[in-house]
Symmetry: none
Amino acid sequence: MEPSKQPPGRPRDSRVDDAIRDAVRELVRDVGYAALTVDAVAARARVGKAAIYRRHASRGELVFSALVHGLEPQPLPDTGSLSGDLAALVQLTLGVFSDPVVAAATPGLLADLKQQPDIAARFQETFIAGERVQVADLLERAFVRGELAARADPALVHAAVLGTAFAWVFLLAQPPTPALVPRIAALAVAAARGEGA
Amino acid sequence: MEPSKQPPGRPRDSRVDDAIRDAVRELVRDVGYAALTVDAVAARARVGKAAIYRRHASRGELVFSALVHGLEPQPLPDTGSLSGDLAALVQLTLGVFSDPVVAAATPGLLADLKQQPDIAARFQETFIAGERVQVADLLERAFVRGELAARADPALVHAAVLGTAFAWVFLLAQPPTPALVPRIAALAVAAARGEGA
Amino acid sequence: MEPSKQPPGRPRDSRVDDAIRDAVRELVRDVGYAALTVDAVAARARVGKAAIYRRHASRGELVFSALVHGLEPQPLPDTGSLSGDLAALVQLTLGVFSDPVVAAATPGLLADLKQQPDIAARFQETFIAGERVQVADLLERAFVRGELAARADPALVHAAVLGTAFAWVFLLAQPPTPALVPRIAALAVAAARGEGA
Amino acid sequence: MEPSKQPPGRPRDSRVDDAIRDAVRELVRDVGYAALTVDAVAARARVGKAAIYRRHASRGELVFSALVHGLEPQPLPDTGSLSGDLAALVQLTLGVFSDPVVAAATPGLLADLKQQPDIAARFQETFIAGERVQVADLLERAFVRGELAARADPALVHAAVLGTAFAWVFLLAQPPTPALVPRIAALAVAAARGEGA
DNA sequence: CGGTAATCGAGACGGTACGTCTAGTCTTAAA
DNA sequence: TTTAAGACTAGACGTACCGTCTCGATTACCG
C-alpha cells in the first residue's frame, strides 16, 4: 500500500499563492512596508484574508516569504581570483539592494526580526547561512590557490561585504554606482588577508 | 525697546520633555520598538497625550527624537595614528550598537526612515553628517601625517566602519567582542589606503 | 435561477446587536446619558468597537437606536369614552417617562436631535408619528360616538398630553403620582373640545 | 476705620462679562449647544479661558448664565380675565421658545440639568419658581374675581402651559403660529377649572 | 454518484493603537 | 488680583489594522 499522495479535501490553488506574492511585491514597491496592510493584499490579489493566513502566520512572515521567493542564493562564478570572486559577491549584493521591492521592504523586515524570533531564525538559516557558505567556499578556494597566507574568518568578510553595501544604500542613502563594486571588493580582500594593522 | 524675550502664554515645561524622553527610552528597552505605544509613554511619563503630540508629530518622530537626544557625536580622540583613530571610531560605533536602547530601536527606526522623509533628512543631517565630518577629519590628519599616499574617500571608510559593525550585530546577529574592534579597524585602514586590489 | 438570499460574507451576529442594546440600556441607567462612553458599551457588551460603529454612525445614534427599540407604540385600549381613552394615553406616557432608562436618556437624546437632523427625522417618523396616529384615531372614535361636536386637532391634544407629562417630570421635576393621570386627561379632553374660551 | 469697600488687586473688567455672554449667545445660535466649546467662546470673546472659569464653574453653568441673563421673569399684565392672563403667559412662553438662542440651547441645557444638580437647583429657583409665582398670582386673582369656583393647582396649570408649548416646538417640531396662543390658553383655563371630566 | 473534507471569496468578529479634540486647571508676563 | 495666551492632565472620540471566525459555494478524492 502506498501512502496517500494527497490530503483529503480540496487542494490549494497555486494561482492563489502567486496572486498573493505578486500583490505583496506590488504593494511593497508602491506604498512601502509599513503602509502595507493584509486587507490591501487580499483586495489586490482578489483573495480572501483566510487564504492568506492559511499560508502565512503573520504579516511579517507574509512579506518575508514573498520577498525571499526568487532570492534563492544565486551561484557565484569561480573567477579564479579572490578579488574577482569578491567583486562578484559585491555585485550580487548591491544588485539585490537595488531591487526596488527589496529596498522598500528590507528595513521594515529587519525591524520585524527583532520581534519575531521564528522569522529571524528563518532569515538566518535561509539567507545569511547560504551567503556564509558562499563566502567560506570562496575564501577556501583562495587559500588553496595560495592567495591567502592563512585561512580567513568568513564572518568578518561576510560582514564587510554585506554591511558596507547595506550602509552605503540604507544608512548613507547614496546610490550604488558601478564604481563602488571594486572598492568594496578591495576592502573585503583586505579583511580576508587580515591586513591594515 | 527690546524685543520681547518670551512668547506669550505659559511656557513649555522642560520637565515634561525629560519625562517623555525617559519614558520612551525605558519602554524601548523593556518592550521593544514595535510594542511601544504612545499611550504607554504618556502613562509612564505621567503626561497627557496632548503634551506628547504638541512636541512630536508622530510615534516615529517621538522615538527618533528621544533616541537621537544624547547621541550627539562624541568627540574622537586624536591617537596619532590612522589605525588608532579608526579603532576609536569602531569602538564608539560598537558601543552605540551595544546600548540596549539603541539595539532595540535601531531596526524599527531605520524602517521608519523609509516612510517619513523628514525624519530621514534629520537622521542624515544629525547623525550621518556628524560622523562623516569626524571620518573626514581623521583621514585628513592621516594624510597630513603622511600615512596616506592620497586623500581617501570619507564615505567609503564611513560605510566600511558603520556597515561592518551594523552587519555584525544586526544581520549576522553575532555578539560584538572586543577582539572585533582591531579587525574592523584594519579593514577600514585598507579602505582608506585603497588597498586590496 | 433564484436570486441569492443572503449577501456574501459572514452575516452579522444578532447576539451582538442584543448585547450592544443591553449594554447601552444598563449604562444609561447606571451612569446616565452624558457619562456613557462607547468604549464602556463595547467593554460591557464584550464586543469590539468596530462592531458598534458598523451598526451605528455615532454615539447619539447608538443610544437613540437602543432606546427606541422596544418603544414601538403600544396599542391603546378602546375604553368607549374620550376621557377613558385619553387617560389610557396619559397613563402610558407617564409610564414611559417613569422608566429609569428613558428618564435618564430623554433629555440628552432630545439635545442630540437638535444637532443631528437624521436622528431627528427618525424620531419624528418612529415615535411622534406613531403616537399622532393613535391620538387621531382616538379623537375620530370620539367624534363618531358624538362626544365631540367637531373634529379636533390631533396635534394640539398630542402636545397637551405629551407636553404636560414631560413638563411635570422633566421641567418641574415633580414625581408622577397616579392622581395626576385624570387631571392631565381632563385638560386633554378640554383641548379636544376646544373649550375654555 | 471703615471696612474696605473693594477687594485688593485689580478689579474685574465688566466688559469681559459682556464679551463672554455675547460670544456664548452667538455661538449657541451659530453652531448649537453641543458643538459649543469653551475655547471657541474664549477665542470669539477675545478673552482668556481663565477669565471664563473665574466667572463660571463649568461649560453648562456658562451657557446657563448667558441664557438666563435677560430672561428675568417679565411682568405679566393683569388683563382682568383668566383667559387673558393665561394667553399673555402663553404668548410670553412661546416668545421665549422662539428666540433662536433659547431654541438652540434649551434641549442641551436640559440634558445638563440631569448631571449637574447645582444648575438644576438654580434653574428651579430662578426660572421655574418665578413662573410658578406668576401662575399662582394669576390664578388667585381669578379666584378673587369669582372666575374659579375653587382654588386651582398652580403646578398643573404651569405644566399645561409650559409643557404644551415645549412639546409643540421641541417634540412635535412645529412652528409656533399666533393662532396657537388662544388654543393653549383655553386648555390652561380648563386645567384651572378642573373641567373635562 | 453521493458523501466527506478542505478550499475559495467575502466580510463580521474582538481587541487594540492611532492621532484629534475637549474640559477644566495651571503658569507665564504684563497691567 | 486681574488680564490674554497657551501648556498642562485626563480621557473619549471615530478610524484603521491584525489575526480569527463564519457564511454559502466550490472542488477534489473516496467509497
